[in-house]
Amino acid sequence: MYTYNEFDEAFVRSRVAQFRGQVEKRLDGSLTEDEFRPLRLMNGLYLQLHAYMLRVAIPYGTLDSRKMRQLAHIAETWDRGYGHFTTRQNIQYNWPKLKDVPDMLDALADVGMHAIQTSGNCIRNVTSDHFAAAAADEIEDPRPTAELMRQWSTDHPEFQFLPRKFKIAITGAPNDRAVVKSHDIGIRMVRGDNGEVGYEISVGGGLGRSPFVGKVIREFLPKADLLPYLESIMQVYNLSGRRDNKYKARIKILVHETGLDEIRAEVEELFPQIREEFTHPSDELLAAIEPHFAPPAFVEKPLGDYEAALAADPLLRSFVETNVVAHKHPSYAIVTISLKPVGGTPGDATAEQMRVMADIAERYSHDELRISHEQNVILPHVAKADLPAVHAALRDAGLGTANVGLISDIIACPGMDYCALATARSIPIAQEISTRFNELKLEHEIGQMKIKISGCINACGHHHVGHIGILGLDRAGVENYQITLGGDGAETMTLGERAGPGFSAEELVPALERLIDAYLKVRRDRQESFLEAYRRLGVAPFKAALYPDQAKDAA
């Protein structure tokens, strides 16, 4: 794991000290809210519906037991004993007091963490594949590159006042688990003609009110050229990105309005000159970072007891079937801990649960944890022989829910239960869906299903790329939910299509039941997922199920 060098440590500490002074000045009246607001946002502090909210970065989703325990300590000491893991691999605390925030930031700095680049019009913290360095399908660990981009982007003087926020994601595997094409820049590690590893760079992806799938601007970028190339894109955006209209300020609009070919030409024209300005090629810088991400010393453990336990324990079997996937090491497995208990709040963990996850990671996962954009926690390196013990420990802490990838493994933004921007609630909708389909005992029958819920058009809940997407709106003073169908956040990224008029909160779950019922009737066999059936049949049978009265009228 990357550990801070002296420069990083001094930088984070000085930022906390600065912010402490800024809070004091706000409290004694020498800073107005208009002056203070951008300063607090630079340190991840928002003012939400009921309270302040502190958003803490978990760079590329990787943390160890020490960091997780500190997150638990912060939740208990200055918040209400829990934290909310987000679709950007962050954790949010929903109830801090303004005067306590500098102490919280100091406590984070004690373990090499911070809230920098979690807000504001800067390059935000880089996100990545939560299975990085463990996945069997991986070309290369993307995290050294993610860390290099962090070092380059943090406090980069040229990119502190971009037209709008800027998000970068990277995956090292052909199966995209980081939704890279929904980012301002999306990076896939790929092999070149001679087998060498480089990057495919996409630009202009995004969700929100104007969703776009990222477009490939460079099919193969050698590792040596990474930072100069990214800097070229950033310069083009910084100069030409619109600043007249907040809703048109993201690079996706620039790419859309200018055209990809034109943007590419501008970037390529700048690139040779910018490359000259870099004193070190990026592959040299990467080589210095890579040792921090050396794989753990995997050990062979006999599998006899594991196989016996698997045969004897149906709960373990169910857990392994849904929450465990192949590791690149044949004796190991990747375990996803579901933060989606039946009827629970997606992404929430109590301080006690954080400690349990930290303990398990320390003992059974080479001291590594990951946060996924799907709001779950991953134990990336678990010996198969240890799976029965890991499962038992998780179950005891209420963390044994076997539903990863199923209909109750829902992404939901905080919605109007917390968020000042929300137009409707998300969390109660997720709770209702998970409770209802658990009652129906249909979850495993339905199979692979990604429901994603956003409480406003900004789409933090990724509804555009949900197999079923739900968007909460305010329609004449009443919460109303629009359904989109056929979205996909994987390497085959597709934006969902709006099915029709929205539903009230009361009508929504019955409508989803009709939709699922229709899928179960029309699917070819149990192997055909909802998304596959939708792609084969189109929207018609699903629309008919959602709007039976319209179907009758048409008949």
Partner: protein, 100 residues
Amino acid sequence: MARPFVPKIITANDLLEGDVIYLTAEGRWSRTYEDAVVATTQEEADDLLRKAEAQPDRIVGAYFVDTAVDEDGTPKPDHFREVFRATGPSNYFLGKQADA
């Protein structure tokens, strides 16, 4: 014809605690919706908002919002956003509902 004026109250967040507060008839701040002073004309509402914004060392983000009013003149939140602000989140018993 002009639309009839919808009564309004002034609300904001507390600078220190961040929680939801309401401007009272005395020009002070209460954590209880029902304590809010009700403006019955746009002039009154504008005047109250100016009073609120004159207290930047105490509050953040003051705005006026349409309110329902009981028969006895007590304000009650109308729009669901204000109902949630006056209550707390629906997933946990936290916020105002727990402090009451």
